[in-house]
């Protein structure tokens, strides 16, 4: 009995030991690689986050650099004589149209002229400018633009703004638009301005205003025409001021401001005309597009 018990005990112990050894071996074989392992996940996560941010920054920087490069490449691509000429043409047409608007607007405020400001408002002006710019963009043959500037040709779309303004002037200015007699009457009867002087002043205004209306209606203006007209406009406004003072009703015309606007647009128009003629010459000389 004792022998049997002993044998059982020994067998059990052996089994247990074998199981323990096997378990240990299995454990070691499975997890032995983790021997000495220290947890550094947080550090790695921080490093990863930092790298992610760096990557984002770098991507942004790359995009920016690429965009800048693309813009430069596009800019250089656009650096052609044709592009410059078309740009100058569009800018010139816009300036010319703006100058006409300034003149029309000023004319409407002069007491001797009878058409009203409500006929020509900002919306119409914008619409006209849009049309002008649309027409000026790419539709006109380049040679036509150059010839128009260098040789003064005024057909087709060239002088488009003027044609529009001309239409407007024709529409609005049907019949007598000047109230000369009314001005004379105000000057003479209301405030004792001598009739001789009143007639002279009113007639001068009428002549000058008629000249400006004719100018606006012209199909093509030279920059010299524009500059002289700005000067004439100033004289018209100055006389309006004198008449306003003489009749005691004053004037709200901002003559200096309007004159400076007209001169500035004339300058812009002139610069574009000069640019086109110069660029056409350089294009010819360099044989470049």
């Amino acid at each position: 009995m004792n022998k049997k018990l002993t044998a059982v005990c020994v067998a059990a112990a052996s089994l247990l030991t074998a199981g323990a050894v096997a378990g240990t071996v299995t454990f070691v074989s499975r997890y032995g690689y983790l021997w000495g392992y220290e947890d550094s996940l947080e550090t790695l996560k921080a490093q990863e986050a930092e790298l992610t941010a760096q990557l984002a920054e770098e991507e942004t920087a790359l995009k920016e650099a690429q965009a800048a490069y693309d813009a430069m490449a596009a800019a250089r691509e656009a650096d052609t004589w044709e592009h410059h000429i078309r740009q100058a043409f569009a800018a010139g047409e816009e300036a010319k149209a703006e100058a006409d608007m300034v003149m029309l607007s000023a004319l409407e405020q002069v007491s001797i002229v009878t058409f009203g400001t409500e006929d020509f408002n900002e919306t119409m002006k914008e619409a006209l400018l849009d049309e002008v710019m649309g027409a000026a963009s790419d539709k006109i043959p380049l040679d036509y633009i150059i010839t128009g500037v260098t040789e003064g040709v005024s057909e087709g779309l060239y002088g488009y703004a003027q044609s529009k303004a001309k239409d407007y002037v024709s529409d609005v200015l049907g019949g007598d638009i000047f109230q000369v007699a009314g001005i004379v009457d105000q000057l003479v009867n209301a405030n004792s301005v001598p009739a001789v002087l009143a007639n002279q002043m009113a007639e001068k205004q009428r002549t000058r205003a008629a000249g400006l209306v004719e100018f606006i209606g012209m199909e093509k203006h030279s920059v010299q025409d524009q500059r002289r007209s700005a000067d004439s406009l100033y004289q018209l406004m100055d006389m309006e001021e004198q008449i306003g003072a003489a009749t005691g009703r004053g004037t709200t015309l901002q003559k200096i401001q309007i004159y400076e606007q007209a001169v500035e647009y004339a300058r812009q128009y002139g610069a574009s005309q000069y640019a086109i003629s110069q660029m056409a010459r350089w294009k010819e000389e360099t044989h470049e597009n």
Partner: protein, 418 residues
């Protein structure tokens, strides 16, 4: 035997205990190791990702370096184009004054206030009738003698204004046109300095490359200076003439003209100090004499109707040695016109001396002949010789200087040219 068995059992017991303990230990550690293994796995993935990111970062940096290298070519080009701008800048700055110069704005000069005042005074004193308008656009006024005289004065002023405009119209037009051309050329080149960003510069590279070592607007500049010299001459004549018939309003008008004249002259002095362009001497003479005719008519009429125009005031008569009678007319206290006659009724031939506001003779009309003077120089005469003309000019100067003194009345014949 028993002892051996006991030892064996003891060993078995110890082994069993150790094994048991080991099994318990392994069991406990296995659970821990599973967690650790999961962490380890996560870490490995993180390391993998980091590695990939580093590779990506490297790629991006390489790409950016490549783009920047390409960009550097543009930068060099832009830098070179900016240099062209800097070449252009001093030329533009040098001529900025001409661009900023304001010419024109030549207003109509009607002294309405003065004539309103005259008209009201006359109306109040009942010397003129009521206005009646009828027929025609401008109507006609019923005119009494008084009204007729006043109208003569008004019309005289209007005619003078027209004469002034006629004198300056062509040169003003010329100057405005030359200025328009100059501004066009200068404005174009100036716009190239407004290009600031790299894109703007590159997009206009062809234009900037045209900026040379000289002002591209030189031709337009010289044409403008030439036109300005003509305009300045006309302005100087006009300022002198207006200076002699100034009414109250015209002081400010003249002041504006003088400012413009000074600005124009300063511009000319800068570009052509010798004043070698503009009108020829012959052209100047022709213009001046033509204007002088209108001017003399204006003064004569103004003297006749001086009651209605404050530009010229009768300043009284002086008799010199009972031989010659003088009538003086002043503007703002200064003699600008002298009539002389051997008859106290001033009938028959009347000698005339026209002066500027500083006493310089402009025109002399005597029985010895006529003399026209421009800027102190005799430009035309009909008397017997240049010497005689010069003597008449000297005489006119002395008369102006001494007219209001006792010496003049008593000593006139001692220096009169006969």
């Amino acid at each position: 035997m028993k002892t051996k068995k006991g030892i064996l059992l003891l060993i078995c017991g110890i082994c069993a205990a150790i094994s048991l303990a080991l099994l318990v230990f392994v069991n406990v550690q296995t659970a821990r190791m599973k967690e650790k293994a999961a962490l380890y796995e996560e870490e490995q993935q993180a390391i993998e990702r980091i590695s990939q990111q580093q590779v990506r970062l490297g790629e991006l940096e390489a790409q950016r370096a490549s783009v920047e290298a390409d960009q550097a070519v543009f930068d060099q080009e832009i830098s070179a184009l900016r240099d062209r701008q800097e070449i252009l800048r001093p030329f533009l700055e040098e001529d900025r004054g001409l661009y900023d110069l304001e010419i024109g704005k030549f207003t109509d000069n009607y002294d309405v206030d003065m004539f309103q005042k005259v008209q009201r005074q006359s109306s109040q004193t009942g010397t003129i009738g009521k206005f009646v308008f009828g027929g025609g656009l401008f109507g006609q006024a019923f005119q009494s003698n008084e009204q007729y005289n006043m109208d003569q004065a008004y019309q005289n002023r209007i005619r003078f204004g027209e004469a002034v405009r006629t004198l300056t119209n062509s040169s003003r037009k010329l100057a405005l046109e030359a200025k328009a051309d100059y501004d066009s050329a200068y404005g174009f080149w100036l716009s190239l300095l407004d290009l600031k960003s790299g894109e703007e510069i590159l997009a206009n590279g062809k234009l900037l490359k045209q900026a040379g070592q000289t002002a591209g607007w030189e031709e337009e500049r010289m044409r403008l200076v030439d036109a300005l010299e003509k305009y300045a001459f006309d302005l100087s004549v006009l300022v002198t003439a207006y200076g002699t018939v100034l009414s109250t309003y015209e002081e400010s008008f003249l002041s504006e003209l003088s400012s413009q004249q000074a600005a124009v002259q300063a511009a000319i002095d800068r570009y052509d100090p010798q004043w070698s362009m503009g009108y020829t001497q012959e052209e100047k003479k022709e213009r001046y004499l033509k204007f002088l005719e209108n001017y003399r008519n204006t003064i004569d009429t103004m003297a006749t109707f001086h009651s209605y125009d404050e530009g010229l005031a009768f300043a009284g008569e002086t008799t010199a040695y009972h031989e010659c009678y003088f009538r003086a007319y002043k503007n703002k206290g200064t003699i600008v016109y002298l009539k002389a006659s051997p008859s106290h009724t001033f009938t028959g031939f009347v000698g005339k001396r026209y002066y500027d506001q500083y006493g310089n003779p402009l025109y002399i009309s005597l029985d010895q002949g006529t003399v026209a003077i421009l800027d102190g120089e005799i430009v035309d005469f009909t008397c017997e010789s240049l010497e005689k003309a010069e003597a008449l000019v000297q005489e006119a100067r002395r008369i102006w200087q001494e007219y209001e003194t006792e010496e003049f009345a008593h000593g006139y014949t001692s220096y009169a040219v006969h």
